[in-house]
């Protein structure tokens, strides 16, 4: 039987893999994909709680967990569109998407 702890550990592992990708990768596109992984880890965690937790008013609270995930997916799509536009722009201006070389705004 699936338990909440299974979902939580899966979510934690997915989040940490995504974080490793953000910290260790050089290509901006790959960093973006890793951020998507982290967002998905949050979704998995939320759906775990929405399905398992003992709410005071489950008829209201359980659907709300799913609604929040729908919003996260929406925002993730918007974020990805903008980030891809920024990456394409960056590529056009600097002909590179290596984040180590992009230090215009570095202190």
């Amino acid at each position: 039987m699936i338990e909440l702890a299974h979902i939580q550990v899966l979510s934690a592992a997915l989040f940490c893999i995504g974080m490793y990708g953000v910290l260790a990768r050089r290509s901006a596109v790959l960093i973006l994909m890793s951020i998507e992984l982290m967002l998905n880890a949050v979704n998995v965690n939320l759906i775990g709680y929405a399905a398992f937790a003992d709410f005071a008013d489950p008829e209201v609270a359980r659907p709300q967990g799913q609604v929040i995930i729908i919003f996260i997916i929406t925002i993730a799509a918007a974020e990805l569109a903008l980030a891809m536009a920024i990456i394409l722009r960056l590529y056009r201006n600097r002909s590179s998407v290596n984040v180590d070389e992009i230090d215009l705004m570095r202190w």
Partner: protein, 167 residues
């Protein structure tokens, strides 16, 4: 006797984590995009196992369809041969250490936290309840989210448009 749902959960979890590892490990960025697709399909499987059919559908459509396609398009519009031999930056051992440390911390936190769980395991959410919650209780945030999407799309178009003679 192992329950079928648990077996299915392990399959979905393996797909998710394997795809995620593929994204952060592979040296070819096109493979990374397809590994991301596998990971997203795995997450959709987890959603299905937790009775969130609508979310599984949305996940496959938005992540499996749109987002991976957008990533692949971005790769096509930039020079793809630059990406066939990706290297990680020099801090990757530190990054791995931090990721493992935070994973350990999270698992310790999960093990120590006592969440009140409803009797009978996974609970079903009716489609009707989800729709009511989304379009009655959350109607205004829903509209704001659609506005956010519109603004993001216009912003993306403005950003990538070639500005003709003005530059």
């Amino acid at each position: 006797m192992i329950e079928p749902s648990l077996v299915l959960f392990y399959i979905a979890g393996t797909l998710t984590l394997g795809g995620a590892l593929g994204v952060v490990m592979t040296r070819n960025i096109v493979y990374a995009a397809f590994a991301l697709l596998a990971s997203m399909i795995g997450v959709a499987g987890v959603f299905l196992l937790l009775f969130a059919e609508f979310l599984a559908l949305v996940q496959v459509l938005i992540y499996g369809g749109a987002i991976v396609i957008v990533v692949l398009f971005a790769l096509m519009l930039t020079r793809i041969q630059d990406f066939e031999h990706l290297t990680d930056n020099r801090q990757w051992p530190i990054a791995a250490l931090i990721a493992f440390a935070i994973f350990g911390l999270l698992v310790a936190g999960i093990a120590r936290t006592d969440v009140r769980v409803a009797d009978g395991g996974r609970q079903v959410v009716e489609f009707k309840d989800l729709g009511e919650s989304l379009f009655v209780q959350w109607a205004v945030p829903f509209e704001v989210a659609s506005l956010v999407l519109l603004v993001a799309l216009i912003g993306a178009i403005v950003l990538v448009r070639s500005t003709g003679g003005r530059e």
